[in-house]
C-alpha cells in the first residue's frame, strides 16, 4: 500500500481545517449581519471579535468596531491571521505543496477562489448591501471545494487526514460560536420572550445551518439549553460536536486498522475518551457546571488531540520508527 509522506498528511489536515474555518466564518458574518439586530435595527459587532479572542489585535489595527472595520478585519485583512482571506491563502499554500497529490480540479478551484478574493474592493464589496452576497459566495466557494474534493480526491490515507482536519475544525468552531453567543444568549430579564430574544436564537442556529433541523427535533419552543444541547450533542446534525467527534474517532480507528499506523494509538486514546464524555453528557448537567467552562475544556482537548495527531503522524524523526 502506498505510503503517505508525513508532510503531505500534515498539509492535507491543515488545508481541510482552513477551508472549514473560512466557511464557518463566512456563515457567522452572514448571519450576524442579517439576524442579529437589536430592537433599534442595529447590530453589535463586538461579540464577533470574541470568536478567537481577537479584540486586542483588532483594536491595534482599527479605532472602532464598526460594521465596515470588523468586516474588513475578518474578510479581507491579510494582516489578520484569522481573516477569511488569510485562511484561504493558507489553504492554498498547503494545496500548493499538495499539488502532486490532490486533483487538478481541487487546485484550480482553490487557486481561482483565492485570486477572486484578492481582487475584491473593500469600498464596494464590503458595502453593507453587498455583505450577504459576498458571504454567500464565499460559503458557496467553500462548499464547491468540498464537493470537488468529495468527487475527485483519491480515497487513500490522504482522504482520512482531510476528513480528520475538517471534522476537528468543525467541532472546534461549533464550540467557539456557541461560546461567544453564550453571553448574549443568556436572556437578560429585560429580553425574555421578546422578538429580539428569538432572533438571537435563530441567528445562532442559522449560522450553523441548523435552524430547520432544530425545528424538526423541537417543533415547539426554543430555550437556550435546547439550542446549546442541539449544537453540542445532537446525534444526527452534521455540525454538532458529537457527530464531528464520532467521525474523528472512526477515522482514527480506520487509520490504525486499515493502514496499520501503529503510532496512531495515542490520538485514538484521547479521541475515545472525548467521545465517551460527549456521548454521556446532557446539556442540563453541562449548564449546571457552567457552559463556558465546558466549552473551554472541549477546546483545550481539541487542541491536545490535534497535537497528538501531529506527534503520531506528522513528526517522524526518530530512527525507532523504521518500517519496511
Amino acid at each position: 500500500m502506498a505510503a503517505l509522506l508525513a508532510r503531505y498528511a500534515e498539509c492535507i489536515f491543515w488545508m481541510a481545517r482552513y477551508m472549514e474555518r473560512a466557511e464557518n466564518l463566512a456563515r457567522i458574518l452572514d448571519v450576524h449581519e442579517t439576524f442579529a439586530r437589536d430592537s433599534f435595527g442595529s447590530t453589535n459587532w463586538l461579540p464577533i471579535l470574541r470568536l478567537n479572542a481577537d479584540e486586542k489585535r483588532f483594536f491595534e489595527l482599527y479605532p472602532t468596531a464598526s460594521v465596515k472595520n470588523v468586516l474588513n478585519f475578518y474578510v479581507l485583512d491579510q494582516n489578520n491571521p484569522t481573516s477569511i482571506i488569510a485562511a484561504i491563502a493558507s489553504a492554498r499554500e498547503n494545496a500548493r505543496q499538495l499539488r502532486p497529490l490532490i486533483s487538478t480540479e481541487m487546485w484550480a478551484h482553490l487557486n481561482m477562489f483565492y485570486n477572486r478574493l484578492l481582487a475584491l474592493e473593500p469600498a464596494t464589496d464590503l458595502a453593507q448591501h453587498n455583505i450577504q452576497r459576498l458571504c454567500a459566495s464565499i460559503k458557496e466557494a467553500c462548499q464547491t471545494h468540498t464537493g470537488i474534493t468529495e468527487g475527485t480526491f483519491f480515497r487513500d490515507q490522504g482522504w482520512y487526514f482531510y476528513q480528520l482536519g475538517r471534522n476537528l475544525e468543525r467541532a472546534d468552531q461549533a464550540t467557539r460560536v456557541l461560546d461567544i453567543k453564550y453571553h448574549t444568549l443568556l436572556p437578560s430579564p429585560r429580553d425574555i420572550g421578546t422578538p429580539i430574544d428569538i432572533s438571537q436564537w435563530n441567528s445562532l442556529l442559522r449560522s450553523a445551518a441548523g435552524y430547520h433541523a432544530f425545528r424538526r427535533v423541537y417543533p415547539r419552543g426554543m430555550t437556550p439549553a435546547a439550542v446549546a444541547g442541539f449544537l453540542l450533542f445532537n446525534d444526527n446534525f452534521p455540525r454538532s460536536v458529537l457527530v464531528c467527534m464520532r467521525e474523528v474517532d472512526s477515522l482514527l480507528n480506520r487509520l490504525n486498522s486499515k493502514y496499520r499506523l501503529r503510532r496512531g494509538t495515542l490520538p485514538l486514546e484521547r479521541s475515545d475518551e472525548l467521545l465517551g464524555n460527549l456521548s454521556n453528557q446532557t446539556i442540563e448537567s453541562v449548564i449546571s457546571v457552567g457552559l463556558h467552562e465546558y466549552l473551554d475544556g472541549l477546546q483545550i482537548n481539541f487542541g491536545k488531540l490535534s497535537n497528538d495527531i501531529a506527534q503520531a503522524f506528522f513528526l517522524i524523526d526518530e530512527p525507532g520508527t523504521l518500517s519496511a
Binding site: A3, L4, L5, A6, R7, Y8, A9, E93, R96, Q97, R99, P100, T104, W107, A108, N111, M112, Q157, F161, L255, Y259, R260, L261, R262, R263, F313, F314, I316, D317, P319, T321, L322, S323, A324
Partner: protein, 518 residues
C-alpha cells in the same frame, strides 16, 4: 490592434521572415513543404478568433496554476510562461536526424564523464586539456572511482539547439545538470489539444504524453538491487527544493506523471548510509531519487555545508551504492562552455564518428590562433566566459559599445583560457501572434533525452520564442515564451494521443540557454 477583422490568410500573405530561416515557410532555397497542411488550416482561421483562443489559453494556464514564481518587491508572484498558439513544426525526417544526433551526443558525454571519473584516458591522450576538466569548478573529485549503473551520468539531458540562416540545426549548449522545461512541452500540447482541435486533427503528430512513464522506467532501471526484499519495486521519489522554487510546477508535474512522492530535503533522512522518507507510518526506504537540487546543495556534509535544502549524508549513501541519483553528481563538468567546444572531438574519440549535429563554430581562446582570431574580430563575435552560468559576463560584439569591446579585449588578454568566442547565430524565426499581427520571432529548441540503459528522446522538445521584436533572447526571465512543437509522423499517420488532465514551470535552473543573446 493590427489585424483585427482580417483573416489569417491575409496576414500570412504579407508575412516576411526578413531573410531568416523560417520554421513555417523555410527559405527560398529550402522551402518547408511539410507544413502545407497546417498552413492551409491556419489560413482558414480569422485573426480575431485566433486571438480569442490564445487569450483563453493563457487564462487557462493561469487558472490551472501552470506558472512559475518570480520575485518582485520581496513578494512571490505567479507568472505564466507566455504561450504562443502558432506551432513550430518539424518534419519526420529532420527529427529522425536530430534524434540520432542527440543520442550520439549524450552517449559521448556519458563516456566522457565515466572516463574522467575513472582512468582519464581522454586527458592522457591530450584530447581535452586536463586543467580544463580537473580545474573546473563543477568537477567533483569525490566521484572519482565510483561506478554507476550502465555508466550513465546524464540521465536527463536538455540539449539546446538553434537553427541558422541556412536551416542547419546546431547545438548551442548542453544541459546535463538539472535541465528544466519539459513540463511545458506536455502542457503546451494539452493546451493546443483543447484550444485548436481543428488545427491538429489528422495531421499526424508524434505524441509527447509518455515522458513521465519513460522517466520512471529509467529511475527504476538505475535503482540499486535489494536483497532484503522479496518482490522489489523500487521506491522512486522526486527531490525538490520546495514550493518556492521557480520551477516548482515542473517538479509537481513530473512527480505526478511518474506517480511518485515529491519530497523535500526535510522529508528524507539518512541512517546507516541508507536513505529513508518520513511517512505517516514511519521511515520508509528510498531507492532512486530524481533530484532537482544542484550538486552544491545536495548534501551539506559532502558539499556546501550551509545548504538547508539538502539531505545530510546522502552522498555517502550514494557512494556506497545504496541509492541512485539522477542526474549523477559531477555532470556539470560536461556541459561547461569550454568543454562544449571539445564535444565534437569527444564524439570522434569515443565513438569514432563525426558529430551529427554540429556545434556553433567555437573559438577556444586558450588556443593562440583562436585567441588572435577573436581579438581581430571582436566586434563580430560573441565572447563568453567559460565558468559562468546564466549568461553572465557575455559580450555581444555587434551590440557592444567601444568601451565594452575594449574591456572585453583586456579581459581576454589577461586570462584567455577563461573565454570562448562564437559568431552571432542568425536564429531561425517562426510566425508568432503579436500585438502587431502575425510576425516573425526568433526561436530555439530544447529536446529532452532520458538515458539509463539506452537513450530515449522526447519527440520535439521545448520551443522557446523571443516575443520582443528583434531580440534573440528566448529566456523566460527576459520576455521569452514558448510554442507547441510538432514532430510529424513518417507517413502523416496520427499516433493515438490521450488527453491527460494535468499541468508545469520553466527553466531557471540552468539558463545558459541562448547565451549569445544575454
Amino acid at each position: 490592434m493590427s489585424g483585427s477583422g482580417k483573416g489569417v490568410d491575409d496576414l500570412l500573405s504579407s508575412y516576411d521572415a526578413n531573410g531568416f530561416y523560417d520554421e513555417l515557410f523555410g527559405s527560398a532555397s529550402k522551402p518547408a513543404s511539410h507544413t502545407e497542411a497546417v498552413k492551409d488550416r491556419l489560413r482558414q482561421l480569422q485573426y480575431d478568433d485566433l486571438r480569442r483562443r490564445a487569450s483563453d489559453a493563457e487564462r487557462e494556464l493561469y487558472n490551472l496554476g501552470i506558472t512559475f514564481l518570480v520575485y518582485s518587491d520581496a513578494k512571490a508572484v505567479d507568472r505564466i510562461l507566455p504561450f504562443d498558439v502558432i506551432p513550430r513544426i518539424i518534419a519526420a525526417k529532420e527529427w529522425a536526424h536530430l534524434e540520432k544526433g542527440v543520442q550520439q551526443r549524450i552517449a559521448a558525454l556519458n563516456m566522457f564523464l565515466h572516463d574522467i571519473y575513472h582512468d582519464q584516458h581522454v586527458l592522457k591522450d591530450g584530447i581535452i586539456p586536463a586543467e580544463l576538466v580537473l580545474g573546473n569548478a563543477n568537477y567533483r573529485p569525490q566521484m572519482q572511482g565510483i561506478t554507476l549503473p550502465f555508466k550513465t551520468y546524464i540521465h536527463i539531458a536538455g540539449v539546446d539547439l538553434v537553427r541558422d540562416h541556412e536551416g542547419t540545426f546546431r547545438v548551442l549548449e548542453d544541459n546535463g545538470r538539472v535541465p528544466s522545461g519539459v513540463s511545458y512541452v506536455v502542457e503546451n500540447r494539452h493546451m493546443m489539444l483543447r484550444a485548436f482541435p481543428d488545427l491538429m486533427g489528422d495531421i499526424g503528430l508524434r505524441n509527447v504524453e509518455n515522458y513521465g512513464a519513460k522517466l520512471l522506467e529509467a529511475m527504476c532501471e538505475i535503482a540499486p538491487p535489494r536483497a532484503d526484499v522479496d518482490s522489489y519495486d523500487p521506491q522512486v521519489v522526486l527531490l525538490s527544493p520546495g514550493a518556492y522554487n521557480s520551477a516548482y510546477f515542473e517538479h509537481i508535474f513530473l512527480a505526478r506523471e511518474m506517480g511518485v512522492p515529491l519530497v523535500e530535503g526535510r522529508d528524507l533522512a539518512v541512517i546507516d548510509d541508507k536513505v529513508y522518507m518520513k511517512t505517516t507510518g514511519g521511515l520508509r526506504r528510498v531507492d532512486s531519487i530524481y533530484r532537482r537540487i544542484g550538486d552544491d546543495f545536495l548534501d551539506p556534509k559532502a558539499f556546501n555545508p550551509d545548504s538547508l535544502l539538502g539531505v545530510p549524508g546522502i552522498f555517502e549513501a550514494y557512494r556506497k551504492g545504496n541509492v541512485a541519483l539522477a542526474n549523477a553528481i559531477g555532470t556539470g563538468v560536461a556541459d561547461d562552455k569550454a568543454v562544449y567546444a571539445y564535444v565534437p572531438r569527444m564524439i570522434k574519440y569515443y565513438l569514432g564518428e563525426d558529430a551529427l549535429i554540429p556545434n556553433v563554430d567555437t573559438h577556444i581562446c586558450r588556443e593562440p590562433d583562436a585567441l588572435q582570431y577573436t581579438l581581430d574580430n571582436l566586434d563580430k563575435l560573441v565572447v563568453k566566459p567559460v565558468g559562468e552560468a546564466g549568461g553572465y559576463g557575455i559580450t555581444i560584439g555587434p551590440r557592444a559599445s567601444k568601451a565594452e569591446l575594449e574591456e572585453c579585449r583586456a579581459k581576454l588578454l589577461e586570462d584567455p583560457a577563461n573565454y570562448i568566442s562564437q559568431p552571432m547565430v542568425p536564429l531561425s524565426v517562426c510566425p508568432t501572434l503579436t500585438e502587431e499581427g502575425i510576425e516573425p520571432r526568433h526561436v530555439d529548441l530544447r529536446p529532452f533525452a532520458i538515458t539509463a540503459k539506452s537513450t530515449w528522446v522526447l519527440p520535439g522538445g521545448l520551443t522557446r520564442v523571443a516575443l520582443k521584436k528583434g531580440t534573440l533572447i528566448v529566456n523566460s526571465s527576459q520576455g521569452g515564451g514558448s510554442k507547441d512543437t510538432w514532430v510529424l509522423t513518417e507517413g502523416g499517420e496520427a499516433e493515438t494521443e490521450p488527453v491527460a488532465d494535468d499541468s508545469t514551470d520553466p527553466f531557471h535552473t540552468q539558463s545558459q540557454s541562448q547565451s549569445q543573446s544575454q
